[in-house]
Amino acid sequence: MATIVVEVMLKPEILDPQGQAVASALPRLGFNFAKAVRQGKRFEIEIDGEPTPAQIAQVEDAAHKLLSNPVIETYVIKVEK
């Protein structure tokens, strides 16, 4: 069994209010390490066996059509065991 992970992030140029809110809360709690914070989404898709190139292509298609909004988001696909 393997897990195909799709991570969706807002494109760098798109405003990320969620990330901003976290970035400004951190110093209030004494955490001063963050220059900026951006928040994204992670999808874990479980499949049987090793993923085939065809399956990855399908996930790619799904990531483009459903999991992300290409107008404002980008995604990366990884395979985890």
Partner: protein, 225 residues
């Protein structure tokens, strides 16, 4: 002299004005409290109002929980100070661990605003003493993340100790476990409620006047203290 009930304004609080109006209409004096100060200004009780504190980014109530005013409220609540958290206030109370469980995304995945029927099941808390047990009321429900969730152990504990104060009746609006709409802490001074009693205090603008009883209950209990 009328008792003073503080209403906290976090950045993004929306129903603070309405909660203050409900306090006044119930015969109390509303005292505005600002998130950035830890001064409770000698109020006799506190309402954490609805809204989207800090935009409700990250998790609902997660950032508000660390506001200076909350540090004071948490300490006071642990010593029996009356606190009512409505909607976002309930979320803040859960994030503060003054109440168990968490509020998650509605099962229908939409924000939902409706007139909701509730059954009051615990009339021993400071905020519900004016109701009769089993009384059915209708007050507005309006939220996107109102589904009460907790583990089985916590659920058993809440049920066996009678700490569910109100349950949804006739319609399941959000998939909460055991249709839980509100709970209390063991002592009965801290109550969290997802629907909005402060929007049911006059029939002109709300579905009923049932909500007022939460506020009159607290004011009456304060007399006896």
């Amino acid at each position: 002299m009328a008792f003073r009930i503080g209403v906290v304004t976090f950045p993004g609080s929306l129903d603070d004005f309405d909660a203050a109006r409900a306090v006044e209409m119930a015969g109390g004096t509303a005292g505005p409290l600002f998130h950035a100060s830890d001064d409770l200004k000698e109020v006799d009780a506190v309402v954490l109002p609805g809204g989207f504190s800090y935009g409700d980014y990250l998790r609902c109530g997660a950032i508000a929980r660390f506001a200076p005013i909350m540090e004071s409220i948490i300490v006071a609540a642990e010593h029996g100070f009356p606190v009512l958290g409505i909607c976002n206030g309930f979320q803040v109370l859960c994030e503060s661990h003054l109440l168990p469980g968490a509020l998650t995304r509605n099962q229908g995945l939409h924000f939902l605003c409706r007139d909701q029927k509730l059954k009051i099941e615990n009339t021993k808390t400071i905020w519900t003493s004016g109701f009769t047990e089993g009384q059915e009321i209708v007050i507005p429900l309006k939220n996107g993340e109102g589904s009460f969730q907790c583990d089985d152990e916590t659920l058993d504990m809440l049920e066996s100790q009678g700490r569910v104060i109100a349950r949804y009746v006739d319609f399941d609006p959000n998939g909460s476990r055991n249709l839980i709409a509100g709970i209390t802490n063991a002592r009965g001074n801290v109550v969290g409620l997802m629907p909005h009693p402060e929007h049911a205090i006059e029939s002109l603008t709300g579905p009923s006047e049932d909500g007022l009883i939460f506020f009159t209950s607290a004011l009456q209990q304060l007399v006896g203290r």
